[in-house]
Amino acid sequence: MNVWLMGSAVLLFALVLCGISCFRGDAMERLVGLEMAGIIVTLLLVMLAEGMGRVNFYDLALALALLSFGGGLVFARFLERWL
C-alpha cells in the first residue's frame, strides 16, 4: 500500500464528517455539506487513480468536479425560491 492509497483511506473520515454535516441544520446548511463532499470525493478519486497507477481514472475526478458544480448550482437555485 503506497502513500496515495493510505491518504485516500484516511480521507474517507473527512467524508464521514461531511455526512454528519448533511444530517444537521436546515436545507442550506446541508447543501454546504454536500458541496464539500463533492470537492473531497474529487480529490479522493485523484488520489485513488494515482495510487493504482491508472491515469485514465483522472477523467472520473474531472467529470465529478464538473457535475458537482452543476448540481450545486441547481440545488442553490431551487432552495433559493422554490423548496
Binding site: 502513500v3 496515495w4 491518504g7 484516511v10 480521507l11 473520515f13 473527512a14 467524508l15 464528517l17 461531511c18 454528519i20 454535516s21 444537521r24 441544520g25 442550506m28 446548511e29 447543501l31 454546504v32 455539506g33 458541496e35 464539500m36 470537492i39 473531497i40 474529487t42 480529490l43 485523484v46 488520489m47 487513480a49 494515482e50 491515469v55 483522472y58 477523467d59 475526478a61 474531472l62 468536479a65 464538473l66 458537482s68 458544480f69 450545486g72 448550482l73 442553490a76 437555485r77 432552495l79 433559493e80 425560491r81
Partner: protein, 119 residues
C-alpha cells in the same frame, strides 16, 4: 528515500490533513456563512498541494494536465458556488439579497435606500 518521494509524501498528507481540518470546521461551526468559508481552503490549498504531488510523481505528462484541469475547475467552481449558495441563503431568509434598509455592511457607510423586494 529520495527527496522527490519525501516531497510527495509530505504533500499528500498536507492534502489529507487540510481536508480533515476543514471538514471538522464545517461540523463545528454554528453559523451557515462561517461554514461556507471552509470550502475555499480545500479547493485552493489541498488541490494545489495535490497538483504539486502529481507533478513531482509523474512529471508534466497526461496526469499533470488532467490534474491541472481539475484544479482550474475546482477553483472556478468554488468561487461561483460559494457566491450562489450564500446568495440563495440570503434570498431564502429575506426574500431578496440586497442590503436591507438600515443594514450596516463592514467597510461601507450605512445604506439608506434598501434593496428591492421583488422576487
Amino acid at each position: 528515500m529520495s527527496a522527490a518521494t519525501l516531497a510527495v509524501e509530505v504533500l499528500v498528507w498536507v492534502v489529507v490533513i487540510t481536508c480533515l481540518l476543514c471538514c471538522l470546521g464545517l461540523v463545528a461551526m454554528k453559523d451557515f456563512f462561517e461554514r461556507l468559508h471552509y470550502m475555499a481552503t480545500v479547493s485552493t490549498v489541498a488541490t494545489m498541494a495535490l497538483l504539486a504531488a502529481v507533478v513531482i510523481e509523474q512529471g508534466w505528462g497526461q496526469a499533470a494536465i488532467k490534474m491541472s484541469l481539475i484544479v482550474v475547475v475546482l477553483l472556478l467552481m468554488n468561487a461561483v458556488l460559494t457566491h450562489a449558495t450564500a446568495r440563495a441563503a440570503r434570498v431564502r431568509d429575506l426574500g431578496h439579497w440586497q442590503p436591507a434598509e438600515g443594514e450596516k455592511i463592514a467597510g461601507l457607510e450605512q445604506i439608506g435606500g434598501g434593496g428591492h423586494k421583488d422576487k
